[in-house]
Symmetry: C2
Subunit: 214 residues, 2 copies
C-alpha cells in the first residue's frame, strides 16, 4: 500500500465521475471547462491507480479501490509481542491488602494472579475497591477469593495482532489482558504462563506513536 496526494483537480474529477458514472472524458472536460488534452494526464493517473475504471465507448466509472484501509493493514501487522508491557504477577495466596500495595508500587491498573506460575485469575482496581469497602478483612483474605477466575479470564497469545487485542479489550470491557504461552503439564493439561501484558495504555500510546510518526 502506498498513499498518494491527489491534486484538487483530480479530486474534483473523482467527484464528477462518482455522481455521473459512466461519463465520457468529453463530458468531464466540459464540466470543468477544460480541454480533453489538459485532462488526459489526470485521467491516466486516476485509472492507473485504480481509482477510476475506463471502459472503451462507455466512459469512466468510480471503482472505489482507493478506499483500502491502510490503517487496518498497519495494525494487523503489529503483533502484541511488539508493544507488550511487563506484567505484574502475584500468587493466589497473596492478601488483598498486599495486592493493593503492589498495585501502587508497580503503578499498574490490573494484576495477574498465578498458582505454581500458571495463570489462574486477574484482579482489577474495581475488584480491590469493592473488597476494601466491603465486609471482608483485606489483610487476611487472599486474592483468590475476589479475583476473576479462569476460564473467565480473557487472554492473548504473542502472535495476535494489536487490532485483535483492542477488539478483545472493548468487547470484554476490561482494562488489560495477559499475554500467555501455552504449555502442557505432566498430566497433559493445558497451562498458561504469563509473559506480558497489553492494556488500554499500550493501545493509546501506539495511537499516539502512529499519529505523530513522520
Amino acid at each position: 500500500m502506498r498513499n498518494i496526494q491527489l491534486t484538487k483537480r483530480q479530486e474534483k474529477i473523482i467527484e464528477i465521475v462518482k455522481e455521473n458514472e459512466p461519463i465520457t472524458s468529453e463530458a468531464i472536460a466540459k464540466q470543468l471547462k477544460l480541454t480533453r488534452a489538459t485532462l488526459r494526464p489526470d485521467l491516466s493517473i486516476l485509472t492507473m491507480s485504480g481509482i477510476l475504471d475506463a471502459r472503451p465507448k462507455v466512459g469512466y466509472f468510480y471503482s472505489g479501490k482507493s478506499d483500502i484501509n491502510v490503517f487496518r493493514d498497519k495494525i494487523q501487522s503489529i503483533k502484541v509481542e511488539d508493544i507488550k508491557s511487563l506484567p505484574t504477577i502475584i500468587d493466589e495466596e497473596t492478601s488483598v491488602y498486599d495486592a493493593i500495595v503492589t498495585l501502587f508500587l508497580d503503578d499498574v491498573g490490573s494484576i495477574f494472579v498465578t498458582s505454581n506460575d500458571c495463570l489462574t485469575g486477574i484482579i482489577s482496581r474495581k475488584d480491590m475497591l469493592k473488597s476494601a469497602i466491603g465486609n471482608i478483612d483485606i489483610n487476611k483474605v487472599p486474592v483468590a477469593v475476589i479475583m476473576t477466575r479462569m476460564p473467565n479470564v480473557i487472554y492473548l497469545e504473542e502472535k495476535e495482532s494489536i487490532l485483535e487485542a483492542a477488539i478483545k479489550i472493548i468487547e470484554h470491557e476490561v482494562d488489560s489482558l495477559p499475554i500467555v504461552e501455552k504449555h502442557k503439564d505432566d498430566l497433559g493439561e493445558e497451562q498458561l504462563k504469563v509473559i506480558g501484558k497489553i492494556s488500554k495504555t499500550n493501545i493509546t500510546k501506539l495511537f499516539v506513536d502512529l499519529g505523530i510518526e513522520d
Copy 2:
C-alpha cells in the same frame, strides 16, 4: 489524500530507485529484465503520483512523498466532540463512599468534581482505593479532600483533536480527561463547565473502529 494499491512490480521499482537514485529507465528495465516499453506505464504512475521524481537526462529519484501519514491526517480531523462520552459528575461535598458507589453505578473509571457546576477536581479509582484502605472515614470525608484539584486537572476543549487528547492522556498518565467549555463569571473569573469526557476507552474504541472500517 487517497490511497492506491501499487503492484508488486511498482513496489520493486521503488526499491530499485531508492537504492540507486538517480537511475535511468534503461537501468531499471535491465535490473528487472524487462523492456523500457513494458515499464513505461509503471514509471508514469509512479511519477504522476509523486512517489518518484523524473529529471530529464539524469534519471529517477525517490521523492518520498508517498510517506504522507494518512492516519495522522485522519485522527487530527476527528475532534474530541465527535467521540466524547457522557461525564459522571459529583459535587465537592459528596462523601468518598458515595463517590465509590457512583463509580460502580455509572460503570466508569473516573469522576469529575464540581462546585456550583464548575470543574474543581477529578477523582480516580486509585484515589478512592487509597482512601478506602487509609485512616479516613470514607462515609464522612468529602471528595474535595482527596481529589486532584484545579489547576492540576488536565482538560480538553471540544475543538481539540483526538490525537491531542491521546497525547495529553499519555503525557499526564491519566485514564480520562474532562471536556470543558470556558465561561467568565460575574467577577470576570474564568470558569470551566464540564460537557463531556474522553478516556482511554474512547481511544481504544476509535482504534478498533478505524481498524475494522471498510
